[in-house]
């Protein structure tokens, strides 16, 4: 058992790869492209998931929705008082929010209502919104919009205000008081924040109804208990905890990149069948070469080892190249084109930066999906080569 690395054999293997320039180039090119694509998809999903995970903890721990006939329905505001009485609940707020479809641009805005004149909101507005005038949101009917919303409204010549169409067909004019900072585009792009009263007017929601109720629990250990109690009081509700959301994210991304992977595997195998074919068809040149090696004393195991080095070097090189390219592509160039799969073709384009995540497991994952499969494709051809009749060289 010699564990020393045989430098001369590696040198020979590299020479053998370089000797077949066009074949090696083809393999490296396709292999790099495949690993590049796969790694890029993983990197993008990882970044998006990281973005979600880093903010999910600030969400309210529990969201209570009313379900009627299997569909989401407006919940009674009175429920807040009952929920507040449950031990462990530190806060419960009835929220009003919804989607406003802006037909001109063909997009949905997420319209979120907040309580007016609340100091805590003003503080956070200071932090996250620019061009913002406090007095204006207090005195007039106004809203703070995301960057994408502002752009879309501008395109339709709404610069100072916007006319919402109410369910009865009349218009509701709301002034644009401020814009959320571009930094938070990934979260805020399509959001409009305005007072609850204005929202109720636009969507025609009764004072006694709300979209959902968010509940804050001081001790996270108590969340399941609180959930079950709410469920007992209101059997017609669906209760989502922030823990559920996390699990749901993980599932979604795994599921989706899993499907991508499943499709990807087909192209991977096609490639390896080509490799198998290419490495099985030996030129007389190659046959002679192996014959020489065996005649001058190379064992079958030595030839196999050399062939293994060859395929390992070429596949590992291409793997590193592919991963390197995708690092640059995703994190330096922000994944042009491929990003579209994730952001869709909506009109409200966000421009955002994918946060840099170094995830060792992804690298392992892509490694296991490429290098061993490639080496597997070369096992049988290598064996055929290594056990060729050596006496042909002198026959």
């Amino acid at each position: 058992m010699k564990n020393k690395i045989n430098v001369y054999l590696i040198e020979y293997a590299i020479n053998a790869i370089l000797r077949q320039k066009s074949k090696s180039f083809f393999i490296v090119f396709v292999f790099t492209l495949l690993t590049f694509l796969l790694t890029s998809v993983f990197f993008i999903t990882n970044s998006i998931r990281y973005e979600l995970d880093s903010t999910v903890d600030t969400l309210p721990q529990i969201i209570v929705q009313k379900i009627k006939a299997g569909r989401h329905y407006d919940i009674d505001v009175d429920a807040v008082d009952n929920i507040l009485e449950i031990a462990g609940v530190s806060d419960a707020v009835a929220r009003v929010w919804g989607y406003y479809y802006f037909a001109n641009a063909g997009v949905n805005f997420s319209v979120v209502g907040i309580e007016q004149y609340e100091n805590q909101y003003k503080n956070s507005f200071d932090k996250i919104a620019s061009k913002f005038d406090l007095s204006e949101i207090d005195s007039k009917v106004s809203m703070v919009v995301g960057h994408g919303v502002k752009e879309t409204m501008h395109d339709s010549y709404y610069k100072e205000y916007f006319n919402f169409i109410k369910p009865d067909g009349t218009l509701k004019r709301v002034n644009i008081a401020g814009v959320f900072e571009a930094d938070t585009q990934l979260e805020s792009n399509d959001v409009i924040v305005m007072s609850k009263d204005t929202i109720r007017e636009i969507f025609d929601i009764d004072e006694s109804k709300a979209t959902d109720i968010v509940v804050k629990v001081a001790n996270p250990e108590e969340i399941p208990m609180v959930v079950s109690k709410i469920k007992l009081i209101y059997p017609d509700t669906r209760i989502i905890s922030s823990e559920d959301l996390k699990v749901s994210y993980q599932n979604i991304f795994d599921y989706k990149s899993g499907i991508f992977l499943a499709l990807f595997i087909i192209s991977l195998f096609t490639f390896f069948i080509i490799i198998y074919d290419k490495s099985s068809g030996l030129s007389s040149e190659e046959k002679r070469e192996i014959g020489i090696l065996k005649a001058i004393g190379w064992r079958v195991d030595d030839v196999l080892k050399e062939k293994f080095y060859e395929s390992f070097i070429i596949s590992f090189f291409a793997y590193t190249l592919g991963v390197g390219f995708s690092f640059a592509y995703v994190y330096i160039f922000q994944a042009p084109i491929l990003q579209n799969i994730f952001v869709g073709y909506s009109q409200l384009k966000t421009s955002f930066e994918l946060p840099f995540i170094f995830d060792l497991q992804t690298l392992f994952l892509v490694f296991f999906l490429s290098v061993p499969i490639y080496i597997a494709a070369t096992i049988i051809p290598s064996w055929k080569v290594a056990t060729l009749e050596a006496d042909e060289v002198i026959r």
Binding site: L59, Q65, Y99, V191, Q347
Partner: protein
């Protein structure tokens, strides 16, 4: 991500209380899918099929609803 930016983002999410990223706004059920239900695809149109590229990559949860009812947790607690 700088901690400053992270703080800003967290402040925004806390204000709005909606969990998802604004990267798919084509259909209501894609944005904030975690707080919508599996039927919400039909809200836009009864015959709608998933056809947006972004619903392919990011869609509403497939496993969430069973979970979110927390039936198991409740059962467990009731047994106790």
């Amino acid at each position: 991500m700088s901690s400053d930016l992270l703080k800003k983002k967290n402040a925004f999410v806390e204000l709005v209380g909606l969990p998802d990223l604004a990267i798919s706004t084509e259909a209501t059920y894609v944005r904030h899918r975690s707080v919508s239900d599996i039927f919400s695809i039909y809200k836009d149109d009864g015959t709608l099929r998933e056809y947006f590229p972004s619903t392919y990559a990011i869609s509403h949860s497939h496993t969430m609803n069973l979970h979110s009812t927390n039936l198991h947790a409740i059962k467990k607690n009731n047994e106790k």
